[in-house]
C-alpha cells in the first residue's frame, strides 16, 4: 500500500514542495527506511515516529516500510517530516483517506505530542501560493502560521488528537490569528531616559529618518549602547509587507518563540565582537540567516567596532551595498534580505579614556593610531553620520533645572521620522529605493539640486574641513534628510550647515 503526503522544505526563504511517499509492503522482512537525501535529523525521525505512534496508543505495523522524500535529489533538512511520515503510516493502518489539499508539518516528541517547529510561517505562505486549503501544524506554531489568511491552519496538539479529527470523532477548529499573544519586544530605552547627548540624539533622529548608518565615538560609560538601544523606538513600526518579510527570516532561523506572532517592531541585533563571519552574514551548508539578515528592516548594532575581526568587518561590505546577501554553497544558493541601519560604536583609544574629562588615558600615540586603523576604511566610507559621544557629567547635568522637561520622548521623535520617511517614499516611488541613505550619485543629482549659496558653503567647508569627494555626497544626503525632517522642499544653508556637524573628523 502506498500513500503520498504533501509537505515542504525551506531553502533559505524559498519553500519547495516535497512529497512524503510512504509505502508499507505486504511482503518482505520488517524494516523502516527513509530515502531521498535525508539529513541526520530526518534519518533519526524513524525512532521518533515509531515511538510516538506506539505511545499514542496507535498501531505501528510490523512490516517493510519505505519512506521516500521526493524530489529525491534535493537534500532535505529539519525535523518537520516527523508528522507527514507518521500520518502516512498510521493512515494506512487505520485505512483512512487523507483530507484533500492538505499539508502536514511538525516535529514529534516521543510521547506523541507535537513540538514547536521552525518555519511554520513559510509553510503557510507556500500552502497559500500553491492552493492548499488546509495545513496541519503543531499547536505552538499555529499562531505563527495563522498570520497567513486564506488557509485553514489546524493546530494539532498530538497524534491521537489528529487522528480523532481525521476519523471525524472530535473536531479541531482552524486557528484564528491571535495577534500579539505575548508582549512585543518593546525598545529597552526611551530617548527621554537618555540625559545629555543632545547632539548624538539628534544624529539618531537623522539616522532613523533617512536610514543612514551611524558611527559613534566615545569613552566607556558615555551612553553609546543606551543610545543605540533606544534607536528602534524612534523608527517607524514595520508595515504589513515588511513585518511579513522580517517574520519570515525569524521563522526560518527558528527565532520565533512558541505561540509567536508577527514581528511588528523593528528588530534590534547586537552581536558580540567575537562573532564568526558565518554568524554575522549567514552560512552553514544549508545556509541560515546571519545577524545582518535578522536585523533586516531594523538596527544592527556593533559595539566595540574596532574589536571585530577584520575579515568579519569586510564581509559586511557587499550586503551593506546591496541590501541583500547571496550565500552560495555546493548544495544550495540562497538569498536573504539584509537592509539594516548599521550603528557602530568605538572607544577613542584602547584604554578608552582619551578626551575623558576626569580619567587619564594611558595609551601612546602609536597605540591610538593603530587602534583607529583597525576600523575598516571601506566600511567607514559607507557610514554617513559620525558623531562624538562625550562623557556626561552628572553634576553638570543636574545644574540645569527643568532639563527633564526639555527631553523629548521617543514617540514624539518618531512622529517626525515617520513624516520624513513618507516624504522620501513619495520622492523615490519611481526609483525603487525608499530612503535618502540609499541614493546613488545619479539620484543625488536629480533630487538634491543645491542653490548657489549652499554650494558655496559646501565648497568652503570642503576647504576648511578637508572633505573628500565621497564626503561631499554624504553631506548632501544628510542635508536632504534634515530638510525632510523639517518638511522643507529644498536643501537650504542651515540644513547643510547642520549636516557638516556629522562629518567624519578622522583624516
Amino acid at each position: 500500500m502506498f500513500v503520498k503526503v504533501p509537505s515542504a522544505t525551506n531553502l533559505g526563504l524559498e519553500t519547495i514542495g516535497v512529497d512524503v511517499e510512504v509505502n508499507i509492503a505486504s511482503r518482505g522482512l520488517p524494516v523502516f527506511e527513509i530515502v531521498g537525501l535525508p539529513s541526520k535529523a530526518i534519518d533519526e525521525s524513524r525512532e521518533r515516529v515509531r515511538t510516538a505512534i506506539i505511545n499514542s496508543g496507535l498501531e505501528f505495523p510490523f512490516r517493510r516500510i519505505i519512506v521516500n522524500l521526493a524530489p529525491a535529489d534535493l537534500p532535505k533538512e529539519g525535523s518537520f517530516y516527523d508528522l507527514p511520515i507518521a500520518v502516512g503510516i498510521v493512515s494506512q493502518v487505520l485505512k483512512i483517506g487523507l483530507p484533500k489539499n492538505s499539508l502536514f508539518f511538525g516535529e514529534l516528541s516521543l510521547d506523541g505530542t507535537l513540538r514547536h517547529t521552525r518555519g511554520a510561517l513559510l509553510l503557510a505562505l507556500f500552502a497559500k501560493e500553491q492552493g492548499f486549503e488546509n495545513i496541519f501544524v503543531p499547536k505552538q506554531s499555529a499562531n505563527e502560521a495563522a498570520i497567513i489568511k486564506g488557509v485553514n491552519v489546524y493546530p494539532i496538539e498530538n497524534l491521537y488528537q489528529l487522528f480523532s479529527h481525521l476519523l471525524g470523532k472530535t473536531q479541531v477548529k482552524p486557528a484564528e490569528y491571535q495577534g500579539q499573544v505575548r508582549r512585543g519586544e518593546e525598545p529597552e530605552f526611551d530617548m527621554k531616559e537618555v540625559l545629555g547627548q543632545e547632539q548624538a540624539k539628534r544624529a539618531m533622529e537623522i539616522a532613523a529618518a533617512g536610514g543612514h548608518n551611524l558611527f559613534m565615538l566615545g569613552s566607556p560609560g558615555s551612553g553609546k549602547t543606551m543610545l543605540a538601544r533606544a534607536l528602534p523606538g524612534i523608527l517607524p513600526a514595520l508595515g504589513e509587507e515588511e513585518s511579513l518579510e522580517v517574520t519570515k527570516i525569524y521563522s526560518v532561523s527558528g527565532q520565533i518563540p512558541p505561540e509567536g506572532s508577527l514581528m511588528t517592531i523593528c528588530p534590534f541585533r547586537s552581536p558580540h565582537h567575537t562573532i564568526s563571519q558565518a554568524g554575522l552574514i549567514g552560512g552553514g551548508s544549508n545556509p541560515r540567516p546571519g545577524e545582518i539578515s535578522l536585523a533586516h528592516r531594523g538596527v544592527l548594532f556593533l559595539d566595540e567596532f574596532s574589536e571585530f575581526p577584520r575579515s568579519v568587518m569586510e564581509a559586511l561590505r557587499q550586503p551593506m551595498e546591496d541590501g541583500k546577501l547571496t550565500i552560495s554553497r555546493s548544495k544550495a544558493q540562497v538569498n536573504y534580505p539584509a537592509r539594516f541601519i548599521l550603528v557602530a560604536s568605538s572607544n577613542p583609544c584602547p584604554c578608552g579614556y582619551l578626551y575623558h574629562p576626569k580619567k587619564k588615558c594611558i595609551c601612546t600615540e602609536r597605540e591610538i593610531r593603530k587602534y583607529r586603523k583597525r576600523v575598516s576604511g571601506p566600511i567607514l566610507d559607507r557610514i554617513d553620520l559620525h558623531v562624538e559621544v562625550p562623557v556626561v557629567d552628572i553634576r553638570e547635568l543636574s545644574q540645569h533645572q527643568g532639563l527633564r522637561d526639555f527631553l523629548e520622548p521617543s514617540n514624539k521623535i518618531r512622529e517626525r521620522v515617520i513624516k520624513a520617511r513618507e516624504i522620501q517614499r513619495k520622492r523615490f516611488s519611481a526609483e525603487g529605493i525608499f530612503t535618502n541613505a540609499e541614493m546613488k550619485n545619479t539620484h543625488i543629482k536629480k533630487y538634491c539640486p543645491l542653490s548657489q549659496e549652499v554650494k558655496r558653503i559646501l565648497s568652503q567647508a570642503g576647504l576648511s574641513f578637508n572633505l573628500s569627494a565621497r564626503a561631499y555626497f554624504k553631506m548632501i544626503k544628510i542635508a536632504r534628510t534634515i530638510a525632510d525632517l523639517e518638511g522643507a522642499e529644498e536643501v537650504a544653508v542651515p540644513h547643510m550647515a547642520e549636516a557638516l556637524q556629522y562629518r567624519s573628523k578622522e583624516n
Binding site: E198, Q199, E396, H400, I482, V493, E498, Q501
Partner: protein, 292 residues
C-alpha cells in the same frame, strides 16, 4: 629613510659649528649630522620650545599662538620633533614663515617618529634644519632622548616649556638649560591639570613666567612687528553672540552649549558649523574654542 650624504657633517673644529654648542665643553658633540640647508644665521637667535607629548588642547592653542608670534620676527624655534608640543612648535614656526630646527634622538637617516614624515618634509622644504649627533640608521634608545634634550637646550639662548608633567622629559631640557646658564621660560597652565605640575615646579625654582610672546621677545631684544592678525569676522546673529560669550569663558561641546543656552543641538550645530567655516571658532577633540 633618506639617503646619507657624506658632506652633511659639521665637525666641532669647523667654523660653521654653532658657537653656543661649542662652549659646552665636554657636553658638545664631536660632530653634527644634518639634513637641509646649513646656514649659520639659523643658529643666531634660537628659542627651544618643549613640552608634553600628551598635550591638552590648551597646550596646542597657546603653543601655536606664542610660537607663531615669536617665530615671525625671525627667532629660530628649536625642538625635539616628538609628537605633542614639539611637533606643534615646528609646525607653527613653518606656518608663519619662520625657521625651525628639529633635533633627532636617532641617526640622521631615520625619521622618528616615522608617522611625522610629512612634518619632516615640510621642515626641510621651508628652510628648516634637521640635526643629530648620531650617524646613519642609529636607532633611538632610552638614553638618546635625554642626550637629544641637551642639544635642544645647548643650541638655544632660552628654553620655553609648555605643559610638563611631574617627570616630563621637558624638565630634563630645562635642567640642561640651567646648567648651561640659559634662560628658562615657563608657560603657566591651569593648576588642576597634571600637566601643570612640572611647570609650577619650574616657576618655583625661578623660571620666568610667560604671559605673552613679548616676554620672550624682550629677552631676545626684539619686538612684535606684525600686530596679531585682527581678522574679526562680523558676528551676525544673536545665537552667535551667545555662543561666543559662552566659549570665551570655557571651551564646550555642542551638547553643553545646547544645555546652557537652552537651544536645540540641531540649531547649535548649524550655527557652529557656519562659525567654524567663517573661522570664528575651531573644534578640538569634540570641544569648541574661540579662535584668536
Amino acid at each position: 629613510m633618506v639617503n646619507s650624504n657624506i658632506e652633511n657633517i659639521v665637525p666641532i673644529s669647523d667654523s660653521r659649528y654653532p658657537k653656543l654648542l661649542k662652549v659646552l665643553g665636554k657636553d658638545a658633540p664631536k660632530q653634527l649630522y644634518y639634513k637641509g640647508n646649513w646656514e649659520e644665521g639659523i643658529f643666531e637667535n634660537c628659542l627651544a620650545v618643549v613640552g608634553s607629548r600628551r598635550m591638552t588642547s590648551y597646550g596646542r592653542q597657546i603653543t601655536e599662538k606664542l610660537v607663531s608670534e615669536i617665530a615671525s620676527v625671525g627667532i629660530t624655534i628649536v625642538s625635539g620633533f616628538m609628537y605633542g608640543i614639539d611637533a606643534v612648535s615646528h609646525k607653527a614656526a613653518i606656518d608663519v614663515g619662520g625657521r625651525t630646527i628639529a633635533v633627532m634622538p636617532c641617526g640622521i637617516d631615520l625619521i622618528h617618529p616615522d608617522y611625522q614624515k610629512d612634518l619632516y618634509q615640510e621642515i626641510l622644504e621651508n628652510k628648516g634644519l634637521v640635526i643629530s649627533e648620531y650617524e646613519g640608521n642609529f636607532l633611538p634608545t632610552l638614553w638618546t632622548y635625554p642626550r637629544r634634550n641637551r642639544l635642544v637646550a645647548g643650541l638655544s639662548k632660552a628654553v620655553m616649556v609648555v605643559e610638563a608633567g611631574e617627570k616630563s622629559g621637558s624638565l630634563i631640557t630645562a635642567n640642561f638649560a640651567k646648567k648651561y646658564k640659559r634662560k628658562v621660560f615657563a608657560v603657566p597652565g591651569p593648576l588642576t591639570s597634571s600637566l601643570s605640575k612640572g611647570i609650577c615646579q619650574l616657576i618655583k625654582e625661578g623660571a620666568d613666567v610667560v604671559t605673552g610672546a613679548s616676554d620672550v621677545l624682550d629677552f631676545f631684544g626684539k619686538r612684535l612687528t606684525i600686530k596679531a592678525t585682527e581678522t574679526r569676522v562680523s558676528v551676525n546673529s544673536l545665537i552667535e553672540q551667545k555662543i561666543i560669550q559662552k566659549l570665551q569663558q570655557e571651551s564646550m561641546e555642542i551638547d553643553a552649549l545646547s544645555r546652557t543656552l537652552g537651544i536645540s543641538a540641531a540649531e547649535i550645530g548649524t550655527v557652529v558649523s557656519l562659525m567654524q567655516i567663517k573661522g570664528l571658532v575651531f573644534n578640538e577633540n569634540g570641544k569648541y574654542y574661540i579662535k584668536n
